[in-house]
Amino acid sequence: MKLDLVLRVGTKILLPFILVFALYVQFHGDYGPGGGFQAGVIAAGMVILYAIIFGVNKAKHIVPQALVEAMIPLGVLIYAGTGTVSLLLGYNYLDYTGFAGDFLRAHEWGILIVELGVLVTVSGTMIAMFYAFAERGR
């Protein structure tokens, strides 16, 4: 696979666009189709594409194993932490009304933070799964 010029150059051209699309899906989830789950999978797809074409070792220079393994619990922590913050602000668990003065604005902030947690966990899990399966074969 390393000798195939078209695949290598094509992948390098595609990668930034995949990442930008993942971020668009993540942050535009309030207004169009998308959200944390889809963005996480697309971001993980970028790393997996890179790992398939250039090898898992090179992919691990960009996204190290330790980072991926930290991402899996970190997302759940962000999600659950958001709920705790809303408790401390005097509302129910995961009720975002206290995050800002305006009702809609507060809920949009809450949704954004929670979706960020989902993104981190989903992309971390997918990359970790791919690394685990790919490493096993050697």
Partner: protein, 122 residues
């Protein structure tokens, strides 16, 4: 006759859903290969997505993204439930595949019948 045909046309979604469900069930029961079984399991799972999404559709409606220009929307609740189910589904299928890989390392095969016969030898 006409009424039966009409019933068939209006319930075609459900009939295909049932076919997919039963096909997944058949693969899980009748096939011994564990990877094929997991593919069958994911067929079964996918049929459930269809079962949830079909009743939520309104012909002539639009996707549940609010805009002043439209009045009729599909029901958003099944979409929410299925969206999370898809991602959880692939995570659990990957867990099953990881188990299949470990079984292959331990027994040298993923065929159920061979594993049973090897267990008998020990």
């Amino acid at each position: 006759m006409m009424e039966a045909l009409q019933k068939f046309a209006t319930h075609y979604n459900y009939f295909v859903t049932i076919f997919l469900m039963v096909a997944g069930l058949y693969i899980v029961i009748a096939r011994g290969n564990m990877i094929k079984k997991l593919v069958g399991l994911s067929l079964f799972q996918t049929s459930v997505y269809l079962l949830y999404l079909s009743p939520g559709k309104i012909v002539g409606g639009t996707a549940p993204i609010y805009d002043g220009a439209y009045q009729v929307y599909a029901n958003p609740l099944p979409h929410v439930l299925m969206l999370t189910a898809i991602v959880v589904g692939v995570a659990t299928i990957a867990l099953g595949l990881a188990l299949a890989v470990r079984i292959n390392e331990a027994y040298g095969t993923v065929e159920e019948d061979e594993i049973f016969s090897k267990d008998g030898e020990i």
